[in-house]
């Protein structure tokens, strides 16, 4: 080994990297931005736990002649916690808000709650959770049950303790669903988006570096035909990939699902068509394959962090929520979760489908117009 040769080699590498300003910027800036964002959203103060209360408790009359409604006392006790906010609702309303994500759990107090407690019989109380997020579905009832138990004890400092039995009901999925079951749908969407983006980005770049793009433009082919041609060509592989990932996840990894797989497949297809065009669009701003890879932190990572994969979109602060709404993966995640875990059908996910289609068309127009900018 000769020192001079070695240092020439190292010096050349340094010069090359230094000259690629974008790489240098990305090496330093991207990790900071990503870590900052990740730290921010993971430590986000998600506000108080929002609970719904469906009070059917009729109460009872004490031997002293006073009337008591235990449900009301418990709600007042819960409300005294800063981190808990309880809203009185009827069951239908409460379940709707649970599905919409504005409530974390709903407490259903039965008619005979007070009566049973006073008579020392089994007093049952129901906690309803949404269920499609496995972590939340297990943690929320557990924590809430503990608080309720404590408060029930505190209601009667003297005399026999109030023995509350708590049942948990899941609107969807349930306790037999684990972490993988609830995250598989969004992982599938992510993989499809990621690989299609990378593949198109790199192969479209190659079209320019090997000179064939210039040759194409010397034929009567239009820019729209080029973009659409790419979309159909890569779209085919994206669909095959979607099908393979989907079937593998369901039949080999054996995740639980209830929905219509054909619908999931269509949603993945729409997502992939958009990814093809986003790949074309970004590749026109890259000179090398390395620079295509450098778009991952810009295109892919924010979508991982904000599309509901890490933190529920409802819990994000306003600005980030708006950012999330500009990302196709957000809609794909929501719709695919709706279908696979909630068992929703076409009519419920039609809006998300239309939005994904709009993203695909928008990206197509964008990619076709950037093609125009290249030579003229």
């Amino acid at each position: 080994m000769q020192r001079r040769r070695l240092s020439s080699m190292a010096k050349r590498v340094v010069t090359q990297i230094r000259r690629d300003h974008r790489s240098v910027a990305l090496i330093f800036v991207v990790p900071m931005v990503v870590m900052g964002l990740l730290g921010y959203i993971l430590r986000l103060d998600t506000g108080p736990q929002e609970l719904g209360a469906v009070v059917n408790d009729l109460g009872a009359v004490l031997p002293t002649g006073d009337r008591i409604v235990v449900a009301g006392e418990l709600i007042a006790a819960l409300n005294s916690h800063d981190e808990i906010a309880v809203h009185d609702l009827d069951l239908e309303q409460a379940e709707a808000e649970l599905i919409g994500g504005s409530l974390d759990a709903v407490l259903v107090f039965p008619e005979d709650l007070t009566e049973n407690l006073l008579q020392g019989a089994d007093a049952r109380l129901e906690i309803v959770v949404e269920g499609s997020n496995a972590g939340q579905a297990q943690a929320v009832p557990l924590a809430l049950g503990a608080v309720l138990g404590q408060e029930a004890l505190a209601l009667r400092p003297s005399g026999p303790a109030l023995a509350l039995e708590i049942d948990t009901r899941y609107l969807f999925a349930g306790e037999h669903y684990d972490f993988l079951d609830s995250f598989a749908p969004v992982y599938i969407a992510f993989f499809v988006y990621f690989f299609v983006f990378m593949l198109t980005g790199v192969s479209f770049l190659r079209e320019r570096t090997q000179g064939t793009m210039e040759r194409l433009f010397a034929t009567p082919i239009t820019r729209g035909e080029i973009a659409l041609g790419y979309m159909f060509g890569f779209g085919l592989f994206a669909l095959i990939q979607s099908a393979v990932i989907l079937l593998f996840t369901i039949y080999v990894v054996q995740i639980q699902h209830v929905g219509n797989l054909a619908l999931v497949f269509v949603l993945l297809g729409l997502l992939a068509l958009g990814a093809v065009n986003v790949g074309i669009f970004f590749s026109t701003y890259a000179r090398t394959e390395l620079q295509v890879i450098q778009f991952i932190p810009i295109v892919i990572i924010p979508q991982i962090l904000l599309s509901g994969l890490v933190v529920a979109i409802e819990d994000l602060p306003r600005l980030l929520r708006i950012a999330a709404q500009l990302m196709p993966l957000t809609y794909a995640n929501r719709a695919i979760t709706d279908v696979m875990i909630r068992g929703y059908g076409l009519s419920e996910v039609a809006l998300d489908m239309v939005i994904l289609l709009a993203f695909a068309i928008g990206a197509l127009v964008l990619s076709a117009t950037t093609l125009r900018r290249q030579f003229i």
Binding site: Q210, G211, E214, R215, F217, T219
Partner: protein
């Protein structure tokens, strides 16, 4: 004469930043002739060709190609363009490349593809992946892609770079044959023995035409028998003037 001009430019100009690649260029290429563009690297030959094909937009001036105003996408089906770079899909076979470019110009016949491959003597390697072909063979594939749709005008940017003398001779035989059938060829080169085979030559330098004429005219004008010397002398004259 003007109604038989395949290419006609008037005061054509194109600059890239401060570099004026083409300056007030007036060029007429007649139908059915082989017009050779000669000039050193950076003299504007490639930019002129890219302007004619519509790959870059002129800053000023007019261009008429085959009687139509450039840019015109419809025109492109009648032009065959070969770039200096190979511009091939290296993971496809030679035949697949030629078939693809033929189809873009509206030619879908296998016989046309076979004929183009035959013309560049590639039929026996037609089904090889381009990545496995040598540089010279790739040039042949590029040429086949440029002429497969039987264009009326061929614009060839240094088509014989990296091509061995034997094949170069056969290329030029084909060029002459096509010109005899009425095809117009605009060919850039800096090889003087190729210049000799052109009907007319244009000497380019600094984005302008320094001199133009048949090889004989250029020789007599500069008072030498050697085309290479003629070119150097003419370039010097213009520089002094």
């Amino acid at each position: 004469m003007t109604n038989t001009a395949a290419i006609e430019t008037k005061n054509l100009s194109k600059a890239f930043g401060s570099v004026r690649a083409v300056r007030d260029l007036n060029l007429v290429v007649r139908e059915g002739e082989i017009y050779g563009l000669l000039g050193p690297n950076g003299s504007g030959k490639t930019t002129l060709m890219r302007l004619l094909v519509g790959l870059t937009k002129a800053d000023a001036g007019e261009m008429h190609v085959l009687g139509r105003v450039v840019p015109d996408t419809g025109l492109l089906a009648e032009i065959g363009y070969m770039t200096q770079a190979e511009a091939l899909y290296v993971d496809l076979t030679a035949r697949e490349n030629v078939t693809f470019f033929a189809s873009l110009c509206g030619v879908y016949s296998d016989t046309a593809v076979d004929q183009a491959l035959d013309l560049v003597d590639l039929l026996n390697r037609a089904d090889d992946i381009v990545a496995k072909l040598s540089g010279g063979l790739r040039r042949r594939v590029s040429l086949a892609c440029a002429l497969v749709h039987r264009p009326r005008l061929l614009i060839l940017d240094e088509p014989t770079v990296g091509v061995d003398p034997q094949l170069r001779a056969s290329f030029w035989e084909h060029f002459r044959g096509m010109a005899n059938r009425g095809v117009t060829l605009l060919i850039s080169s800096h090889v003087m023995d190729e210049a000799e085979r052109c009907d007319r030559l244009g000497l380019m330098r600094g984005g302008q035409l320094l001199a133009e004429g048949t090889p004989d005219e250029l020789r007599s004008r500069s008072g030498t028998d050697d085309l290479e010397r003629a070119f150097l002398l003419l370039a010097k004259d213009e520089h002094a003037a």
